[in-house]
Symmetry: D2
Subunit: 136 residues, 4 copies
């Protein structure tokens, strides 16, 4: 699926998660780039982006890249997600998720996601995640 097709699919499939704050800027079956607009509600005290914000965005970006690879499979589910929090995300800045599929098998897909804040090249967090792909 193209970025626009994944966007349309997720707005129907995951309306609570995939809202107007998220934009799929790119998706090509191997990588994707998802932008989450800055909101005050993302922040923890001290002005850093909260862990749950980053985990939800990474999970979403993994789903986007997987859908762009295998098409509209609503029942693919995350089986494992590992996140390392590396730096503070900056208040006022969008968060970018750069996802890459490391393996696309028949039953499992594994990817990694770098989460970036503002214009720094150093990720605020790094995620690996596994999706289970249902039989078709």
């Amino acid at each position: 699926m193209t970025a626009a097709e994944v966007d349309a699919f997720l707005r129907v499939e995951l309306p609570h998660m995939f809202n107007d704050d998220l934009t799929i800027e790119h998706a090509d079956g191997r990588t994707c780039l998802v932008r989450q607009r800055f909101r005050e509600s993302m922040l923890r005290p001290g002005g850093t982006v909260s862990g749950p914000t980053l985990m939800a965005l990474a999970d979403c970006a993994m789903y986007v890249v997987l859908l762009s690879a295998i098409g509209p499979v609503g029942l693919a589910v995350t089986t494992n997600l590992n996140i390392n929090f590396l730096r503070k995300g900056r208040a006022g800045e969008d968060v970018l998720a750069v996802a890459k599929l490391m393996k696309l098998g028949k039953r499992l897909a594994v990817g990694e996601v770098n989460l970036l804040s503002g214009t720094s090249p150093d990720p605020v967090a790094h995620v690996t995640a596994t999706y289970s792909i249902p039989k078709t």
Copy 2:
């Protein structure tokens, strides 16, 4: 801190995350039990509890048990979180997080969280997480 003290601290410290849907039912410095009231917005299509809901609750429960052990340290931050999704959570049921500290060091605390849905003893997800404790 007692469960009531942790509750009061988090309502001030993390108002976006720690809202009226969360109840600390128990916290004793080694374990805690946090209940998240069921909301339709927790669900993915197919009626299963979403991954981000479970990850956010687990992260919160780890923070609760850590605060109950070390007192009001607002700057403790998660450094790593690993989650295995095991079963579907049930629509209409609260989610319970049972957290346990496995290690409480001077610099790092490591714990595990079992996430339960309804009355089943089998967890819907299992989490391990590490918190970095700032110098005091």
Copy 3:
């Protein structure tokens, strides 16, 4: 399979890994207990049990409990393993691995392993691991 049957299977299947230093003390299809005899070669400088020793033992214990549940499936493979190192293991002491299946599905099995050193009830490391089960 019983503990004795798993033992016989692994001596043939994994001769480089499953040697005379390992004993399956218990295996019942849901849990198992594997003992690794102390060797000087396990140690890092400072006298602590090395990470690779603990990771290899945990991987082995997960395989033992899985085999005890599903029978002699030589092609089951680990897909993910996460380990948190919690305390130093003690020189001169055997290492015990207590494994428990958290989920046994048709395609994936997920378990946790507590690694114990000597007589302390506090684990030296905690592992979660996922195995992919081939079609039969």
Copy 4:
């Protein structure tokens, strides 16, 4: 430290782990490349490289890149390691570990390691690991 200095340090510090099968081909304080010579004893049945072989090599490569960054700190210890097994490693081929530091803090260092088999650019496994750095 240079690659040669790290090599000399590890031969003294970790003689059981850092043997003649390992070569540090590069280390520059941010990345490193470690080669492990093929041995039959690496293999599982079916001719694939075993999980413990890959985990031990990844742990070693993380230590190499960390030492190249911070100098001879014998007491740095792994606190967390997460591995995703992606493909079968090939019998007869050396295994290469390409490690990169993602974060180098005062107390914690976090890196990732891609494990490669033969000449394929697709990793056989991907690892993230955290090291705790002692006070100096």
